[in-house]
């Protein structure tokens, strides 16, 4: 079957103008192809560029060169690397799901609304979106009484579950998972593993950074080594 994500020739470096304009190259000629139903784990020592690659795939960083081809739900192909801001926003709405390590809390917005938001953005009614969000939060063992509260005061693990629910609530063709189980207990880790399994079963392509080797072994079909540039060069 054809790929969902195909990145080629990706390069990314940073110029720190405030520190004497030093150049820090991070990725050079990186490539990655993920098929529907496949989960690829990024591996490598810290600082090797795993997070940078994830951010490129999410459109959060801009690539210096290369392309990031994505197949959208309607079958059309978009190049994230060359996409305009509006196109990136559209891709994040219908194609790229993302679970970051930390929840970016929006003041006063209840957990259930944060989770429902990707559905509402796609035009699903607020009630249905809330119901689906609430069901998923239940599945992640977030007590009902927390659903209506803004997560600012939640523990790290509770916030991460809100984040996970937000990522998994809408069936994105591509899921990016950055340490999705870092602050979870064993029971919730199993829920996440099940969610990833279900995503694969429905044909999602997944890219993840998993520090937890057990989780990685259970979900990843393939491991991609991201090597630090200076050693590689």
């Amino acid at each position: 079957m054809s790929w969902t994500l195909k990145a080629e020739g990706l390069a990314k470096g940073f110029t720190l103008h405030l520190q004497g304009s030093i150049e820090i190259p991070v990725l050079r000629d990186a490539a990655l192809e993920v098929s529907p139903g496949e989960c690829v784990a990024l591996s490598g020592p810290s600082g090797a560029g795993k997070s940078t690659l994830m951010r490129l795939l999410q459109g959060n960083y801009g690539a210096d060169s290369g392309c990031i081809l994505l197949r959208r739900p309607d079958g059309s192909v978009a190049d994230l690397a060359g996409a305009s801001p509006r196109e990136v926003i559209a891709l994040r709405r219908d194609t790229i799901g993302h679970v970051s390590q930390f929840l970016r809390v929006i003041p006063r917005v209840p957990a259930v609304e944060i989770v429902a938001e990707p559905l509402v953005a796609r035009g699903i009614s607020r009630e249905e979106a809330r119901a689906r969000a609430s069901a998923l939060l239940h599945r992640l063992n977030l007590p009902e009484r927390l659903h209506a509260l803004p997560p600012a005061t939640f523990s790290g693990g509770e916030q991460q579950r809100v984040n996970l629910a937000r990522g998994f609530v809408a069936d994105f063709p591509l899921m990016l998972l950055d340490e999705p189980t870092a602050s979870l207990d064993a029971a919730n880790r199993d829920v996440v593993i099940a969610l990833i399994g279900e995503a694969k079963a429905r044909g999602a392509a997944l890219v993840g950074i998993f520090h937890d080797a057990e989780v990685r072994d259970r979900v990843a079909d393939r491991v991609l080594e991201v090597a630090p540039l200076r050693e590689a060069a």
Partner: protein
Amino acid sequence: MSDGPILSARDVSIAFGAVRAVDGVSLDLWPGEVLAVVGESGSGKSTLLRLLAGEARPDAGTVLYRDPSGATLDVHGMGEPARRRLARTEWGFVHQDPRDGLRLAVSAGGNVGERLMASGARHYGDIRTEAARWLERVEIPAARIDDAPRLFSGGMRQRLQIARTLVTRPRLVFMDEPTGGLDVSVQARLLDMIRALVADLGIAVILVTHDIAAARLLAHRLVVMRHGRVVEEGLTDRVLDDPRHPYTQLLVSSVLAA
């Protein structure tokens, strides 16, 4: 979203004496999009906003507005009657100081109702019902509908200004430092309110702010201005997390956890 920008500026410039306050700025705003213009005081961002809203005339360049029928109107060529009509119907302007955007001696209900009346509403009961609904929407108790904003706190006044501006459901709203003069705790509430209302109503917004956190929360897209010029622009989180221009890097690094 429809198929063209709602507002397009091309090479807009204005100089005050030897100072090029706005220097060759071009930008597009799409329907339903929130565009933040950030930069330090004196960067020309507020002047740019006035030029875009037709409140000041540029020395050079054009600003085009696309109306709901798809017709393109030259903001500075349309004449004052047409521009004023737009300003009280399809557009809105939220000032940093609510005193500039409110009538302090007129009741809260009268302030919210003014735009309705200016666009032809002549049923007192309907105007009052709509005003009360909007007061509740911006978290001002409807019981205060007959109070003058003189008696309101700064945050309440600013929320009232927002209700007054949005009551006619404008398609395009210009906001000049809407959280500028407020306490931090009050700011958060206001920002969240603006975020929710803008998303619900699908309003296109040009937001001028020096508050990077506000820009991150509200804006889809970011324009960074310095010395009257756009030095960097793009997707909000990309500009803030992966800034390229030395000035943007300085701006981002000067903010605590934006």
